[in-house]
């Protein structure tokens, strides 16, 4: 029998309905893979028994011709989504022992659509990082290796467990969350598709909060069609999230194949700084060429405030984080370290529970919000954010979509010690502007470096225009003929 983990979601969906194999068989194949590849450390919590139970329920519904859109599809859930009765850690020690009594809206929607949860995926602590190295549960290993080398590489972050699991065929798809690039950058590093929809498309209810004006969930899959199938299910208005959009999500699977003929695609000149990695630059040119060949017009555009996006992000995101993470005080859930007073208990609990990167961001956030500095830093950053968003509005008056590289490099080594926090932040230089503007963005695996490592191309469109996003992504995917992860098994 063929290895069931090789199918895409779309293929498996058809086979399950034709009863070529059962949902339980499909789930078992993925459980076997998940257990075999434990050395990748992609999962924090495996839920094999629960998965088998849900797969059996899927088989029952398939038998009764009551199959839902994702019936019997085994997925991984980033461990930032609260899952009823299953430990949820956010990659942090401070949530030790936390088992939610409720299910996040997005994971509930995926459950209601018949999907099977295989387990909870590793991530940077509170989704703060670009390497998955800040997780309390240890780093994730990228399933890709440089040709002829055995060194372990970073999967990117923060959705590093999600990217590694999907790339290595441990799950057919996974949820990710993206605050400044946490879906797109790891998707690029692991050679998979990652989509961050427009801010407001996916409910944030039940997702552990990092920076509330930026956080957005999205799918991570091996094909564009699979991402569309998942996103169709994950989105939708939720009265429990005041920022969730009260508008219908277009069927993005239905637009696939419509092509880009007559579209205008922008290449922002600011995304080609001096010293841009030559292979990254070449792939970007190739992507533009593919779109031209498919009938699009490609023009250079100007996004003048691009260089200020990262420093803006590193005020806005830590400020919101310092406020959101104030709730971890040892009183209601998670870790508690005893102290002689309430204040001492808070301070000791938070000192023991948070890792260095989270502490760094809480302190920066507290500083920029503190009396005397609010206007100079936080208000200033909010104003620059408005200018960055305005850049995109002006660009989208001229073009339908923007094409850029996803990340400045391919995956780096887990042993390449990055000592300077700012150097690590630069990983997100191409993804952060879209996060600040709240527009949708995706990363498509588009080629390999000379060393055989995946590189991604990023597509951006205006708010609420996921249809154009998916049309462009589909053309890039068809043109790139990206091989995916081969071998190892």
């Amino acid at each position: 029998m063929t290895d069931l983990t090789r199918f895409t979601i779309a293929q498996a969906r058809d086979h399950l309905r034709k009863k070529d194999f059962t949902a339980l068989e499909l789930t078992d194949a993925h459980i076997t893979a998940m257990e075999k590849y434990r050395h990748l450390n992609a999962f924090i919590t495996e839920t094999a028994d629960l998965a088998r139970e849900r797969a059996k329920a899927s088989d029952f519904r398939i038998k009764n011709s009551d199959a839902k859109p994702l019936e019997g599809i085994p997925l991984g859930i980033k461990d930032l989504f609260c899952t009823q009765g299953v430990q949820t850690t956010a990659g942090s020690h401070i949530l030790k022992g936390f088992t939610p009594n409720y299910e996040s809206t997005v994971s509930q929607k995926l459950r209601d659509a018949g999907s099977v949860m295989l387990g909870k995926l590793n991530l940077d602590e509170f989704a703060m990082g670009s390497s998955n190295m800040t997780s309390h549960f240890g780093n994730v290993v990228n399933p890709w290796k440089a040709r002829g080398h055995s060194d372990d590489l970073a999967p990117g972050g923060s959705s590093g467990g999600s990217a590694a699991a999907v790339s290595a065929h441990l799950a057919m798809g996974a949820t990710g969350t993206d605050t400044g690039g946490s879906i797109r950058q790891p998707a690029a590093f692991c050679g998979i598709v990652g989509v961050k929809p427009t801010y407001g498309r996916c409910s944030r209810w039940g997702v552990v909060a990092f920076a509330s004006s930026l956080d957005q969930a999205g799918p991570m899959t091996r094909t564009v069609r699979d991402a569309a199938i998942m996103l169709n299910v994950m989105t939708g208005y939720d009265p429990k999230d005041s920022t969730s959009a009260a508008m219908a999500m277009p069927d993005v699977e239905a637009v696939l194949g419509k092509g880009v003929k007559g579209m205008k695609i922008g290449l922002p000149k600011q995304y080609r700084p001096d010293g841009l990695d030559a292979e990254v630059g070449t792939l970007w040119d190739k992507g533009a060429q593919w779109l031209k060949e498919a009938g699009a017009e490609v023009i250079e555009i100007d996004l003048p405030h691009t260089k200020y996006a990262l420093p803006t992000y590193y005020i806005v995101a830590p400020a919101e984080a310092s406020s959101n993470l104030a709730r971890y005080d040892g009183v209601r859930y998670g870790l508690r370290v005893a102290g002689n007073s309430l204040d001492e208990m808070y301070a000791k609990t938070r000192a023991a529970g948070f890792g260095p990167e989270v502490k760094r961001r809480i302190l920066i956030g507290t500083y920029v919000l503190s009396a005397g500095y609010y206007d100079a830093y936080y208000l200033k950053a909010q104003k620059v954010r408005a200018l960055i968003a305005q850049d995109f509005v002006q660009a989208f008056a001229k073009v339908d979509a923007i094409l850029t590289p996803t990340a400045p490099t391919a995956a780096f080594g887990l042993n390449d010690k990055v000592v300077d926090p700012v150097a690590m932040y630069l990983n997100d230089v191409f993804t952060v502007p879209a996060s600040l503007a709240g527009i949708p963005g995706s990363s498509i695996p588009a080629g390999l470096t000379a060393h055989g490592l995946p590189l991604g191309l990023q597509v951006l469109t205006k708010r609420w225009d996921e249809e154009t996003l998916f049309r462009v992504c589909q053309v890039l995917e068809d043109s790139a003929k990206f091989p995916g992860l081969i071998g190892e098994s």
């Binding site: 407001g200 590193y314 200033k380 909010q382 104003k383 300077d420 700012v422």
Partner: protein, 95 residues
């Protein structure tokens, strides 16, 4: 822009994170590095710019001010590190 030890100690206190004295020096260095890098925002003229205060341009929806959930003390307390009857327990705060 340079943060000093006293400032870092003060913000750590505001954030309720205990920082041992030995960790203060490296922390001062890291935070100063980040804040120096952020300083470049001063170059941008934002005189006539309204701040962007959220991730969306939608107006927040109104709803009726009614109770929609509640009366589940067992569930609310199920993850408590320390509890007493239907209450969270904390160190004594009032003498």
């Amino acid at each position: 822009m340079s943060l000093d030890k006293a400032t870092v100690r003060r913000i750590a206190h505001l954030a309720r994170i205990e920082v041992p004295d030995a960790d203060l020096d490296p922390m001062v260095k890291e935070l100063t590095g980040i804040m120096n890098w952020i300083e470049q925002l001063k170059e941008v003229n934002t005189d006539a710019v309204a701040p962007m205060t959220g991730g969306t341009d939608m107006t927040l929806a109104w709803r009726k001010d009614t109770v929609s959930d509640g009366a589940q003390p067992e569930k609310v307390l199920s993850n408590a590190p320390d509890k007493h009857d239907h209450f969270f327990s904390v160190p004594k705060v009032v003498e």
